[in-house]
Structure formats: structure tokens, C-alpha cells
């Protein structure tokens, strides 16, 4: 049976792991390679690295970091943040990343999804969507929630999949960093409609939040950062708990 995936997310800034609340108030949380190894050894199913300050001159640093991570860990990992071209993506895949995640750049230029999928295959292309309720409608936002786009969330998710995205990473901006639990409503809506795996993100604060997202939606993965980085929830402990809740995990 296919297992539900537990996915720690490491936000990277200048080569270090950071995590803010509602994308602000950044705190330092350690060396990414060391954390990656720790998560891989403790039973994380995948990892996501988001470079939150990706600039052209720092791209080389990220590629070196990806190469080091690939040498150290034996589980799949996704890299995102500032990927604007097929060349950016290919360089990261060559360095050892398994998947590439695109967000704002895909909203700005949807053709990028198609180009990435045809060059690397859909299974390498993760469409990260930040969603927020605006005037009682689920809307796609970019630039850390500052810009509301023209897209309704479900429409953009479907468009992304039709262009070739192989997976959706759905972050509820209203929940991110709050520890109030995953947004069941929007996760369910997207996971029921898109036909590709959906990872729920934003709001994880306790172990029952993971039970809820897996038992109440068709998400196949759940992503969290601070609860793992700051040791509030251990991955072995979470897996053990989910098994008692009849959630199928590795």
C-alpha cells in the first residue's frame, strides 16, 4: 500500500535553515546538510528545500548545497526558490535534486511549467501554490502573500497540471506558521480535483493535525517546518502515532 508522506521543509537563506512565522520574523534553525541527514536518518519520507533569498549571484551557493545534500542523504528531495528558467532547473537536477518546485515564476509565465515538464518529465515538476482566502474566495497569492493574483486556486492548480506539473504543494497562507492545523477545506478541494499527488502545507502544530489532513482529505503528503526543526514533534514519534490512528505510513 502506498504510504502517506511526512515531509520536513527547510527554508534556506544564505546557506542556513530559517523559519519565520507568517513568512516574517526569521529565526536561525541550523545547518541544512546536518538537518537533512538527521531527517533522513529519522524516517522523513522526502525533504523540500526552499531558497527564500535566491538571487542570481547566490545561485552557485545553492547548487553547491544541493550537491552536498545529495551526497549525504538517500531519500528524495525537492528544491525550489527563484527558479525562473529551464537552465536553472537542469543545473539543480544535475547537482542531485530529484524535483524542482516553482511558484511565482510559474504564475508569471505558465509556459515555464510546460518547458520544465518536457525537459525533465512531469515527475520532476512540483507546482507550489500559496493560497489565501480573499473576499471569501480561494485565491493564488505570490511574493509571500503580498500580491493577490488573478487566479482562483482550483483553476490554477488544474491549469498547472494540464501544463505538466506532476505534483502540487499547496500552502495555506492563512495557516502558515500558526500551528492551528492544516487547512482541510482547500486541501480537500484541490486533492479531489487535480489527479496528481497533493502535499498539504501550512499550520501543522500537533500530531492530530497530521491525522486530520490524511483522514479528511486525499493529500498524499504533509509538509511542516518549525514543529520538526525545533523538536516539538519527532518524526519517529509522529509515525508511530499515525500508525495507531490507522494512517498508513512508512
Amino acid at each position: 500500500m502506498l504510504k502517506k508522506r511526512i515531509i520536513p521543509c527547510l527554508d534556506i537563506k544564505d546557506g542556513r535553515t530559517v523559519k519565520g512565522v507568517n513568512f516574517e520574523g526569521i529565526r536561525d534553525a541550523g545547518d541544512p546538510v546536518e538537518l537533512a541527514r538527521k531527517y533522513s536518518d529519522s524516517g522523513a519520507d522526502e525533504l523540500v528545500f526552499l531558497d527564500i533569498t535566491a538571487t542570481v549571484e547566490k545561485r552557485k551557493t545553492l547548487i553547491d548545497l544541493v550537491a552536498r545534500i545529495s551526497e549525504e542523504i538517500q531519500i528524495p528531495f525537492t528544491v525550489g526558490g527563484g527558479i525562473k528558467t529551464v537552465e536553472d532547473a537542469v543545473a539543480l537536477i544535475r547537482a542531485g535534486a530529484d524535483k524542482i518546485s516553482v511558484n511565482s515564476s510559474a504564475v508569471n509565465k505558465p509556459q515555464l511549467i510546460r518547458d520544465l515538464a518536457s525537459e525533465l518529465g512531469s515527475q520532476c515538476v512540483v507546482l507550489a501554490i500559496d493560497t489565501k482566502v480573499v473576499k471569501s474566495e480561494d485565491r493564488v497569492v505570490i511574493r509571500g502573500g503580498r500580491n493577490v493574483t488573478k487566479w482562483r486556486t482550483l483553476d490554477w492548480a488544474k491549469e498547472g497540471v494540464s501544463l505538466g506539473a506532476g505534483e502540487i504543494l499547496l500552502t495555506s497562507m492563512g495557516r502558515d506558521g500558526t500551528k492551528d492545523g492544516f487547512d482541510i477545506g482547500i486541501t480537500n478541494k484541490i486533492a479531489n480535483e487535480v489527479g496528481v499527488p497533493v502535499i498539504a502545507s501550512g499550520g501543522a502544530g500537533s500530531m492530530p493535525h497530521f491525522t486530520n489532513v490524511f483522514s479528511m482529505t486525499n493529500a498524499t503528503g504533509a509538509l511542516a517546518a518549525s514543529v520538526f526543526h525545533f523538536g516539538e514533534i519527532g518524526i519517529p514519534q509522529l509515525k508511530k502515532y499515525l500508525k495507531t490512528q490507522n494512517i498508513s505510513v512508512r
Partner: protein, 192 residues
Amino acid sequence: MIAIIEYNAGNSRSVYNALRRLNCEAVITSDKEVIRNADKVIFPGVGEARSAMRFLRQKGLDKTIIELKQPVLGICLGLQLLCSYSEENDTLCLGVFKNRVLAFPSKEPVPHMGWNNFNKVDGALFDGIQPTEDVYFVHSYYAEISAESVAISNYMLDFSAALQKNNFYATQFHPEKSGDVGSKILQNFIEL
């Protein structure tokens, strides 16, 4: 020395790193002589069947691969390309295995992505591996089951998680991304 066949974008780096962690000497190459003379060959693959086959034919690697006599391990798309035919863009493949490769139905999310266990495992590659252990899959097409299916998994339907015929071995999952279980399977291949 193990030769990892390089073609298209691929994930040869991950395979190389996994072998290095097992202290196994490896080289990433598309040089036919190096491939022919290697002790073992790994044929990895991430990507699309038709363009991968076109690339192999252009480089003449299609013939090199099917004529290899040493142990060969196909991974993911590598497994599919070793089969006879893939529904992915209606592609004629290498034909080492007679199995056809078909698209998953769309009842559940596709790709089949994540960790899954086996219905059964058999043969040298799976020495010391239990069917209850999980490995990492990511694929939208699957190889049908045949007498050569040495491991079977289920996602909506039963499919070949691994194939073996003579010196040819292949896994649909990614041993290089499958934690300690995957390392054990690669170690088994190294020790063949």
C-alpha cells in the same frame, strides 16, 4: 567498477552518490567502450520514454545495452526501456524483457509517488529484503507482470516492481532514494 550510463537529464548523480556511500567505485559515462568493459552497468533514468529511446539510438547505445553480458541494473525509466514497448508516446523499447509498459488508470493520483511495499520479492537482488519493507517509487507507467517479475507491488493494480532475466535486473522503484532498504538492494547488486 560500475558504469552508470549517462543520457538526457537523468538522475545519474544520485545513483553515483549512492554507490559512493557503499564504497563502490563508479563512473558516469556514455562511452560505449567504458560501458562494455565495466564489471557491472547501471542504466538509470528519469524522463520520457520516446526521447530517451531516440537519444539511445542516436548514440548507438541501444545495441550496446542489449549485448551486455555483465550484470545490468535498470532503474525506473531504465526498467521501462528494457521492456518491449511503452504506451508513453507509443514507444518501441529495447525488448530485453517481453513485458509491455502501460499507463496507470486515473482512479488515484498519478504519478504513483512515494513509499510502497511489495506483494512478493524473489531472487538475488532482494536477498534479506522482506515484502513489508518500503521503497520509493515515482512513475506514471508500469510494466505488466510476467514470469520475469521478481518483485510485485500494488497501486490500483499489481505491477512489476522488479524484473530479472539472465544478467538483466531492473527495478521500477529508486533504490538510490530508498533509504537503508535501497542501499541493501544496491549492495546485493554490487555483490552479484
